[in-house]
């Protein structure tokens, strides 16, 4: 029986590099990378600020346990970047002040 996933029984397609937007800037992902891995590979180590002290956070546990790596994916907030597989055309947003403006200004 083919494995069932929430998106149906379709295997993750690809084998092709994909392009994602991160606060308006383009980042590239290799097939099979998670969103978190693609960000780290692109040199981005933080994409969230903590509620109280506003401290930067990115990947910590790497396996979906710590919730440090939350990011907005295609408009859906609070997704764990370490679990979401990168897909072509995906829109990642940090909600960090100044970020989006920075990226647009470039």
């Amino acid at each position: 029986m083919p494995p069932e996933t929430p998106s149906g029984t379709r295997r993750p397609d690809g084998g092709h590099p994909c392009r994602l937007s991160f606060d308006g800037r383009t980042i590239h992902a290799r097939p099979g990378q998670t969103v978190g891995a693609a960000l780290v590979a692109a040199g981005v180590v933080a994409w969230r600020a903590t509620r109280a002290a506003g401290r930067p956070r990115g990947l910590f546990c790497g396996i979906g346990v710590c919730y440090d790596c939350l990011i907005t994916v295609d408009g859906r907030p609070d997704q764990r970047a370490c679990l979401v597989p990168a897909a072509d055309g995906m829109r990642l947003e940090t909600g960090l002040p100044g970020r989006a403006a920075d990226a647009r200004g470039r």
Partner: protein, 480 residues
Amino acid sequence: MRAAGDPVADVAVVGAGPAGLAAAAEAAAAGLTVVLVDAGERPGGQYWRHGPHDDGPPGGHGRRTFAALRAGLTRTRTRTLFGHQVWLVQRDADRFTLHLRPAHDTVGPGTRALTARSLILCPGASDRQLPVPGWDLPGVMAAGGVQALLKGSGTLAGRRAVVAGTGPFLLPVATGLAAAGAEIVMVCEANPLRGWLRDPGGALREPAKAVEGAGYAALLARHAIPYRTRTAVTEIRGEDRVRSVRIAPLGRDGRPRGGVRIEVDADLVALGWGFTPSLELPLMVGARTRVDTDGSLVAVVDDRQRAGVPGVYLAGEATGVGGAALAVREGRLSGLAAAADLGRAVDEGRVRRLQRAVRRGRRFATALHTACPVPPGWTDWLEASTIVCRCEEVTYHDLCHAARDLGARDPRTLKMLARPGMGMCQGRVCGFATAQVAAALTGRSPQAGDLLALARRPLAAPVALSEIAALDETAANEEN
């Protein structure tokens, strides 16, 4: 045999790591209808994690076992659900209902619920952490997370790494990073670790482990990785990310020796202090717990992996941290036990051989735990401003204040007054450390109750209120 896809399976296996795969394979081979669920995208769990385009994990360790287990699932037409997280397990008279949600919301809702007559829980573990000043800086990661990034996504978490904590697991992390091109500034092992790496003969009762130890020693040498024992990272420095790391030798009492410190530049710090078993599902179905030799809270099972609750079996790290090979043996045993309890004929000779193999594996795990304790004086490296609970940003000072000035004598009260373990991760990351700090502040050693106070979770994953509300509707429909 019932048709595949029968609404009530004989057994639901949660977790498709080494333990769960073995459990599912045995149960299916014995003629049970099996459904296997995992939050991950594909089978393998932590040990056999691999990318979507690899047919298995890199390297030879148990690769053949993985291939055989996976082939077994296909042969027995076992129903598998990946990308589904079990967030609630309910029991009605003779069956269990597992409530599922997608591991992330970028895909459809998937399957919402499953029912089964018996339940084999193999949820594994996560990296155990001890807070250290600066561990909340980006660039500091759990050692297993660094490994997962490498195995699952082929991605290096940094270029110049310090790997620190305790236990043999630091070795594959360091050698894996080095083989992928990172520079390893140092591996800091807090314990003397005599008798394992230095003297693989000490592991002779588990010959495969001795070979593995010798193999890592050779790899460390080949990549010229400095490996220091009785050494710990006592401070991580940087503004918005890791820039440097302070390293200190530890005395015999496990406390940093004053004065002697070196500082090295790094952009990645991988921290691992053993593993914390994932107990939310076992606790939810009523499993009992005990403190294991590594100080972790683990679920109690009998010599057939039964949890003492009818129809519930547990295998793998949740019953005591012991690594992948032991997880496979326990998984097989649990699958056979479930089959026997449902009236299938099983080879009792095989059951006994597996029981012996499990006992052997446990003895080896106990020896490792004894060689790799958490340094008793670790709280000495905490500063008042050090974050202990990353989610709620609770500092060591907050905990001291609650304990000393507000009279919080136990973790439950500490949790109410200072909020450690009350954030998104529900204490999965800080639970062990908070229990240790609470005990240290009140001058005792942590007991099972301390750990339990931070391990109980009403739900195994955060869910929307609408999903909880939907439970009543499902129940109502079933009654009609």
